[in-house]
Amino acid sequence: MSRQVRLLLLGSGLLGLGALFAWAIAGLPAFGDYQGPYGFVLNRIVLPLRHTTNVVMGTNFDVRGLDTMGEEFILYASVVGVTLLLRDETRTRLAERRTRRFRDDTVRLVGVAMVGAGLLIGLWLMAFGYITPGGGFQGGVVTAGAIVLLYLVGNHRDYRPFRNEHLLDPFEAVGAGGYVIVGLAALASGTAFLANLFGLGTPGMLRSSGSIAILNWASAIAVTVAMLLLFAEFLETYVVPLEPEDAGS
């Protein structure tokens, strides 16, 4: 099929899809005319029942906690998938040695300062995730981003511990497994899987929300490490520095 025919086919398909969208949108309630009821109900009950001021995270880690567990495991599955796809060549291929550093001091200074700022913001998003805007997933991505920045502004030696999977894997296990264990603990204590345990505390304080706080930290650890593992796999495929222990294999 020539490119022109394909473009024509694409154009007509997009027109059709656009018409379907227009039809669907015409049938929706107008923007801002929310019909409920779930949003209204949750906004009323999550704070009194779970002492969680961030209702979005209360929804994620309690109301639909089981879904979030699945979400954590698709991330885990993705790490495994990427590892399997890229693994066969990483050990055998000899790639360029990356010793180049940014010579520009301003870039390095700002970059290093941003590593600190990024880590702080990431930890803040994680720790207060169930109180103010944020959460384990968001904080995890920001934290991993700050650590990856270390690779960009430093050199591969500074970054080595963060791409060492023997070091990272146990943390991933603690994060992903911790979530399941909290769920099983509820089951063992005679309630439903992932039911809220551990005392609710005072709303707005770090000691609040019961299981939500622990699930939040479990997913924070799992997401940070999953991101680092993904980055490490791509990094090894592209630029494997010839380190003494690798050179012989």
Partner: protein
């Protein structure tokens, strides 16, 4: 104007699909897929918006204040995670394709063996 956010979501989706279909580079294709998926974030957040609603975070805000739907916001988070997962796998496959055929142009990758 009250349907504009939905129209924006539809537009982002269509543009993303057009980008995927006309892409000449697998990395570009992966980014276009992310654009397409972003339309679902816009749609979800628009669906959950309540007129004059505040963020569903009740710290410094009295319980009972009109707030937007937290369910769709939680779903958007799931959506973003799925997007990250998919793009990681696609980029890994793109790397593999480049290793096997020496190109990232989907039109040039002719012989695909299982």
């Amino acid at each position: 104007m009250s349907y504009l956010p939905f129209a924006v979501a539809a537009w982002i989706c269509l543009v993303g699909i057009a980008g995927i279909a006309t892409s000449r580079n697998l990395i570009h294709l992966a980014i276009c897929l992310t654009v397409t998926q972003s339309s679902s974030y816009v749609l979800l957040l628009s669906v959950g918006y309540v007129k004059h609603g505040k963020a569903p975070i009740f710290i410094g805000t009295k319980l009972g204040t009109t707030a937007v739907d937290p369910v769709v916001q939680a779903l958007t988070l799931t959506d973003i995670v799925v997007s990250v997962v998919v793009i990681a796998l696609i980029l890994a496959l793109a790397l593999d394709a480049h290793r096997l055929s020496g190109t990232v142009d989907p039109d040039q990758i002719t012989d695909i063996a299982g």
